[in-house]
């Protein structure tokens, strides 16, 4: 496979050291977006993914099973992503869980709000496969450094 050019397909298989078997929860009310993220993750070598369609369904899943990463949308019916993030940070068992937001919300005050609530990565839609890969790596680097 080629390497390098940003226009090429994002390659996942050559990552060094990262555990590809980590358990990831994808939360978005649009099933198409969940499929996109799931397929991108699969392409990056992460096959151990689960899905939820809003914070209310996601939270019990997070509490009953040990996930290593949460990827969530912001604007969802039921419980919004920002509230899910706050609930995760407030739960002693989940508080250290890395959380990445992938959302169309892009007001400055919202990004600041998410940062204050303890988000680990923030990606605005529409995004590229390369962006997802970079932000994931950044999160994992920090987790490993701890």
């Amino acid at each position: 496979m080629r390497s390098g050019p940003a226009t090429g397909p994002v390659e996942f298989h050559r990552e060094a050291g990262l555990d590809k078997n980590i358990k990831i929860l994808i939360v978005d009310d649009f099933s198409t977006m969940r499929r996109i993220i799931k397929n991108l993750l699969r392409d990056l070598g992460y096959n151990n993914t689960s899905e939820a369609d809003d914070g209310l369904t996601a939270l019990p899943m997070l509490q009953s099973s040990s996930f290593d990463l949460l990827i969530t949308d912001w604007n969802m019916p039921g419980m919004q992503g920002i509230d899910l993030l706050r609930a995760v940070r407030a739960d002693p068992k989940l508080s250290a869980l890395p959380v990445m937001m992938v959302t169309a919300e892009q007001k400055r005050e919202q990004i600041i709000e998410a940062a204050k609530a303890g988000v680990n990565g923030y990606i605005v839609k529409p995004f590229t496969a390369q962006t997802l890969k970079e932000k994931l790596e950044k999160i994992f680097e920090r987790v490993e450094a701890k």
């Binding site: 496979m1 649009f30 529409p126």
Partner: protein, 247 residues
Amino acid sequence: MANDTSVLHQDYVVRAREMLLQMEQGNEEESARLLDELVRLREDSLFRELGKLTRDFHDALNNFRLDSRIADIAEHEIPDARDRLSYVITMTEQAANRTLSAIEDSLPACEALEAQGEALKTRWARFTRREMDAQDFRVLAHDMETFLDAASRDLPRLHENLQDVLMAQGFQDLTGQIIRRVISLVEELERNLVELVRISGQKLLPPEKEAKPDVGVGVHGPAVPGLDTGTVSGQDEVDDLLSSLGF
């Protein structure tokens, strides 16, 4: 109310009869007093009517507030919704074109690899049946190498195109969020129009409280170019903002 009127009527009749009697008897002072009383009664009922009119006017003003919400929708939010829907058309068109381009780029490469692979398979079978002489085998080996070169050149391109098709589907989420927002506006407009019909159909009734629909606290949906302000314009600005916050 009807009772009030008849009591009032009775008051008039009693005084008018008495006044007529006093006049006929030449009792001017008493008849003047009764006339004054009649005038006062008339004024009282005028004030009552005026009070009623004032109350109606107050109610009408309250209802007018509802009308102004409709005016606001017509003036600002309908054009806004129209621009958002136009943006939906743009996004779906872009997504469709991006998908079609990826497919158009992929199909010829797929067909070529398929045809070459099929031809090589037939010749490889001849070789394994030992039906191929050395000269033909040299040509086969050369063609095989050409095929592998083509495969390692074209397959990453196909992979890239498939990923492009995958990412293009993000339009469904983004346009869905915009359309939901427009639907909630249409629902509000419908409620207001129904209320307006109710008010003009029946006589002015106290208006029900009309609250703006709750679209969720602090949720704005995808930024539409030219309409939404205070937004970042892409991932780079998000990264800059976050790094300025110590991320």
